[in-house]
Amino acid sequence: MSLFTLAAAVPIEAEPILTKLHGFFGLLASMTNSILVSIILVVTLVTWAQRATRRMQLIPGPDQNFFECIVEGLYGFFEGIVGHHMIAKSFGLLASLFLYIVAANWFGLLPGVGSIGWHEHEEFIPLLRPTTADMNTTIGLAIVFMVFWLIWTLQEMGFVSFLKHIFGVKGGLKGFMAIALMPIFFFVGIIEVVSILIRPVSLSLRLFGNVFAGENLLTTMMSLGHTLHFPLWLAHLCSVLLPIPFYFLELLIGVLQAFVFALLCAVYLNLSTSHDEVEAENH
């Protein structure tokens, strides 16, 4: 019972915060606390980027320098994975994914996020919820990437080459061996297609699972004293002291998960747009 209570500290769905609106404004009734956080993030990121790049100079000021440092670091990192031929196209998306996810993950660690809200029907509704702890966000990010992945892959390889890349006989086999192994490679191609289709689900579930688990962990640590019926003063003390180590852990996980997401996206892009195999076969 206690364990179940601990595990369910944060509801799995983002809570609507404008349920009382009707009429024309009823369109906003689907507005959830995670969408509100996403709006805040959009404004914050755009403002930050705008401030940093408003007056670009060869000798940068502190804002420009910090922004350039991040962009340059990410550019070099992603260029090493997707290759020189794809970086110009894909950098914007990969860097945006990374920055957006980092900002979203760390936003969840700010005081008040998940803890300031109100009660409705004896249920606590937080005003703000980390947007990556909402499956709608993570699946949205993954699907946006997969759409761009498909476009760029087809642009880079062409439709026929793409089909050959998935279903074709690999390893430079020719003649009888190629014909004999064709059914096997076709079957491997089907598995490849399934794995491609599963990618958005795996990407989104991984990110959501980690952030949601982190949120639960922090909420559980904060309320552990109350759950275990400690004296009030001790419960308050525990709610301050116990989460501190986990905040550091979540800081690390926040950036790590963003890296994992963006890194996997870059790797998927590299796998489908790399010319190595085609070139190796031509030689």
Partner: protein, 169 residues
């Protein structure tokens, strides 16, 4: 497919929220790509180009400096050689001039000495003549006073002759 739908339903995924989140991310992506990343990448490229240019210029300047140093050393060596030659020439000229001056001085000195000798000889001769003359007149006068008579022309000539012979010996 049914499993996926059920999974998404269990996780609270529905179209309006999904679309809202997707659109919000796309807004971030499009704005950052259009206004932030492109300008930063252009700036980085510009800086890289300038650094490359700077390095090339530095290489060029280094090469020019090395050439200048070589030229400088060459000029210095030439100047050194020329100055040495000039000094040698000056020294030779000075020596020649000194020798010439010394020769002239010796010659002048010899001339002066010869003139002096000549003048001395003349003076000596003149003095001897004067002394002779004085001695003769002294002898004549003394003889006149001793003899108590006025000597005539012949006596005087004889006395003069004797005195001159005595002085000459």
């Amino acid at each position: 497919m049914h499993v996926l739908t059920e999974l998404f339903e269990n996780f609270g995924v529905d179209w309006p929220k999904f679309l809202a989140q997707t659109i919000l991310f796309l807004i971030v992506y499009l704005i950052l790509r259009r206004f932030a990343f492109s300008s930063v990448i252009n700036m980085l490229e510009e800086r890289r180009r300038r650094i490359e240019e700077g390095q090339l210029n530095a290489e060029k300047i280094k090469k020019q400096l090395a050439e200048s140093e070589l030229r400088y050393e060459e000029i210095l060596r030439k100047a050194h050689a020329e100055s040495k030659a000039i000094i040698e020439e000056a020294r030779a000229a000075a020596e020649a001039s000194t020798n010439k001056e010394i020769q002239r001085a010796i010659k002048d000195a010899e001339g002066i000495i010869a003139h002096a000798k000549e003048a001395i000889a003349i003076d000596r001769q003149r003095m001897v003549e004067e002394v002779k003359r004085d001695m003769i007149s002294l002898v004549v006068n003394t003889t006149e006073k001793v003899a108590g008579k006025v000597l005539n022309q012949d006596d005087q000539q004889r006395l003069n002759k004797e005195a001159a012979q005595a002085l000459a010996s």
